[in-house]
């Protein structure tokens, strides 16, 4: 029992953190918007060079064979940076799924090499993110998994309020698309993919929440009203302190959820959903508080908070809206073991 990340885990996270701090500042986001491009090519190259595309893919099929807990802080860093490129969805969700469904597929090898990204059309989400830039789309239809290669389906862009979310719906002629996993084979893969999707969405929300607090604190130290920095007023202090409390009590749940994910049982599902719920609440409160602290400036395009506000809105329902996750927690609370000794329970403990 040790609730600390290992040195290796901290190192992986700091590599991603440092890279994004160099290459993914709000100014970079604004430049990308003006350029009207899907990706920042240079940034994406650097991300690919990190070689973590296969971080959650088993070693025997060419991945690094690491676990969600090894990636959770990376996803948090992506949220903190507001990263537009699909590192989380590709490495964190899609590739492990593809590796499970088609471990020998040539496209998997190319994806692990960083030559292409894979987009995922999971039944839990009505849209597919980054489908246009993907070298392959794994899509669920009637529980089975199909693999769409570029051009094999028609994509319709579904513009999001978040300028960096590239959402699509896809249409294709049934039959024309190869099936890579039957409904029976796909079911456990899809369930685990949902858990990873929800977990890493929660991680991004925690990162977003922290970023909003940092932006607000910086502003509150500089901005003076009535002859004092506004950050010296109790009202501002207590708003931000309340957000910080939410963050401090979302993080341990997030990390415990990451560690528990491989269990794939009542308890791990509930903890992942718990993390998604409280991380989303933290991001929502943090973004609104940051806007409030910035005053009128917070409502302007010029201040960066809105990028994180919009991402938080999008991630609130991405990989399951709150109602769904509340229901998953309720199932554990009302049907599972409770009490002090049950904190780290696994289903087989009860067997």
């Amino acid at each position: 029992m040790d609730f600390r990340f290992t040195d290796e885990q901290e190192m992986t996270a700091s590599v991603v953190r440092d890279l994004l701090e160099d290459l993914c500042q709000p100014a970079d986001l604004r430049r990308l918007m003006v350029a009207g491009q899907a990706r920042d090519g240079h940034r994406w190259d650097k991300i690919v060079e990190m070689g973590i595309a296969g971080i959650l893919v088993p070693e025997d099929v060419g991945g690094l064979g690491l676990q969600p807990v090894d990636f959770v802080q990376c996803a948090e860093a992506c949220g903190y940076a507001g990263l537009p490129e699909p590192l989380v969805e590709n490495a964190g969700v899609a590739l492990p799924l593809l590796a499970g469904a088609a471990p020998t597929h040539s496209l998997l090898a190319r994806a692990l090499a960083g030559q292409i990204t894979v987009a995922l059309g999971h039944g839990a989400n009505p849209f597919i993110a980054d489908a246009d830039t993907a070298g392959a789309i794994v899509i669920e239809r009637d529980g089975a998994l199909h693999l769409i290669e570029p051009g094999a389906a028609s994509l319709t862009r579904q513009p999001s309020i978040d300028p960096f979310r590239r959402l699509f719906t896809v249409e294709f002629a049934p039959g024309g698309i190869p099936c890579i996993a039957s409904a029976h084979e796909a079911a456990p893969l899809l369930a685990e993919a949902f858990d990873r999707g929800a977990l890493f969405a929660a991680a991004q929300q925690v990162g977003i929440a922290k970023r909003c607090v940092d932006l607000a604190v910086t502003f509150a130290k500089e901005r003076h009203q009535f002859g004092k920095p506004i950050g010296s007023y109790q009202a501002i202090k207590h708003h931000l302190a309340s957000v910080q409390v939410k963050i401090e009590f979302a993080r341990p749940v997030l990390y415990a959820a990451a560690a528990a994910l491989p269990q794939g049982d009542l308890y791990s599902r509930a903890r992942i959903s718990h993390a998604k719920l409280v991380a989303t609440e933290a991001a929502d409160l943090a973004a609104r508080t940051a806007i409030q602290v910035h005053g009128a400036m917070g409502y302007s395009w010029e201040v960066d908070v809105h990028f994180f506000l919009k991402r938080a809105i999008a991630l609130e329902t991405w990989w399951g809206k709150p109602a769904l996750h509340r229901a998953r927690v309720a199932e554990r609370v009302l049907a599972g073991a409770l009490g002090p000794e049950s904190i780290f329970f696994q289903e087989h403990d009860n067997a």
Partner: protein
């Protein structure tokens, strides 16, 4: 206490309703902040209103009004919003400056400005804030230097609503160069197309532009454009702000319509959503209701000669927090579609909820932040000591 409408009030409601049914544009007008066309279309609507003498029903007939009382104004507003009539492009004029002009202006000023205001011939922007004077409005630095019968304006205003396309603006200027804080300020009008005035639109978080910066360089205006005595600008401005927050800034009808739409949205999706959402929807309808009742209560008191006090601050806190919850509840009902732009093929009935949500986030900030309002309530209403 009598909460039934008189026959005259019922007749009046019918009169408004039938006029609106005949005159409200069938197609919604384009935003008055986005383009000159949209702005002029709204000016046209103001002219149509004034032809029907609906420009500002509470004003005396001599200024294009109908001399009606505040209860009738509420009935008018209810029918106005019920009919889905356009937003009032001139609200800075008719709701903020108008009442202040009525109270502090000279006869000449009233006849010069009010009629053109009610008719929509002159649309007004407000120019309170400055980059370093937000919540701390008394920190304004812009100056008005007396020169014979004129003032020469210098300074930088910000968060001026409508300033991009409006004709006139009113704002606070330091007329006493040596003065500090609340002293030595005057409320002065200036034309936005006057030499030396430059406006610059401010993009909001949703990319829309509703506010602007105003740069003033040696803008010459006649002393006639000063409202009230020189150096009295602060107290006059506070009276305006009180009226703004207190009554007219946010018509109850606006939220009652929003609540009705929320209930309709809920009913349309009841099957897909968790039971808990029902309580939130009902709560929004309750709050819109409570806000309307509170305004009826205030209006009754004011009609009988009362004055608006710190309840201006309680109102502002209540509607601004209600507005956020109302829109968040709508987004919760929309679920995964909440993030989509209206232009998205899959948007379905997302409508303007997301835009409304962003706008609601400005509510606790402008017209005096809710933190400032809570200070006012604590100090003026509850009598707690100043810091």
């Amino acid at each position: 206490m009598d909460l039934t409408y008189t026959d005259e009030q019922k007749r009046f409601r019918q009169e408004v309703r039938s006029w609106m049914e005949q005159h409200v544009p069938k197609a919604p007008l384009t935003s008055f902040d986005a383009s000159r066309e949209g702005f002029e279309a709204h000016r046209e609507w103001e002219r149509t209103l004034s032809e029907g003498r609906w420009g500002m029903v509470t004003w005396p007939e001599s200024y294009g009004g109908r001399g009606l009382d505040l209860i009738q104004w509420l009935i008018f507003e209810e029918e106005y919003y019920r009919a889905g009539a356009p937003l009032r492009v001139n609200q800075n004029g008719i709701f903020l400056l108008g009442p202040t002009l009525m109270e502090y202006g000279t006869d000449e000023q009233r006849s010069r400005f009010l009629t053109a205001m009610a008719s929509g011939d002159e649309i007004w922007a407000q120019a309170w804030s400055e980059p370093q004077a937000g919540s701390d409005l008394a920190a304004v630095k812009s100056t008005a230097t007396r020169d014979g019968n004129d003032y020469v304006l210098k300074g930088h205003k910000i968060w001026s609503s409508r300033a991009v396309f409006a004709d006139w603006a009113f704002g606070l200027f330091r007329t006493d160069p040596g003065s500090q804080r609340h002293k030595g300020l005057s409320l002065i009008f200036f034309k936005l197309d006057a030499p030396g005035v430059r406006t610059q639109a401010i993009a909001q978080i949703d990319g829309e532009t509703g506010f602007a910066e105003i740069f003033l360089e040696d803008v010459r205006v006649p002393a006639f454009n000063r409202l009230g005595p020189e150096g009295e600008g602060w107290s006059i401005c506070m009276a305006t702000a009180g009226f703004e927050r207190g009554l007219m800034l946010r018509s109850p009808a606006r939220f009652q319509v929003a609540a009705r739409k929320l209930v309709e949205l809920y009913k349309a999706h009841e099957a897909e959503i968790e039971p808990g959402v029902r309580d939130a929807v009902v709560r929004c309808a309750m709050d819109a209701d409570a806000y309307a009742l509170s305004i009826y209560s205030t209006a009754s008191r004011l009609r009988a000669g009362g004055h608006i006090g710190a309840e201006a601050s309680t109102n502002k806190i209540f509607w601004s927090e209600m507005d956020i919850v109302l829109h968040k509840t709508a987004l919760a009902i929309l679920g995964a579609r909440a993030e989509l732009l209206r232009s998205a093929p899959a948007a379905g009935d997302v409508g303007k909820w997301l835009d409304g949500y962003f706008f609601s986030l400005a509510g606790p900030i402008y017209a005096g932040s809710n933190e400032i309002q809570r200070n006012i309530i604590a100090e003026r209403l509850l009598g707690l000591p100043r810091a």
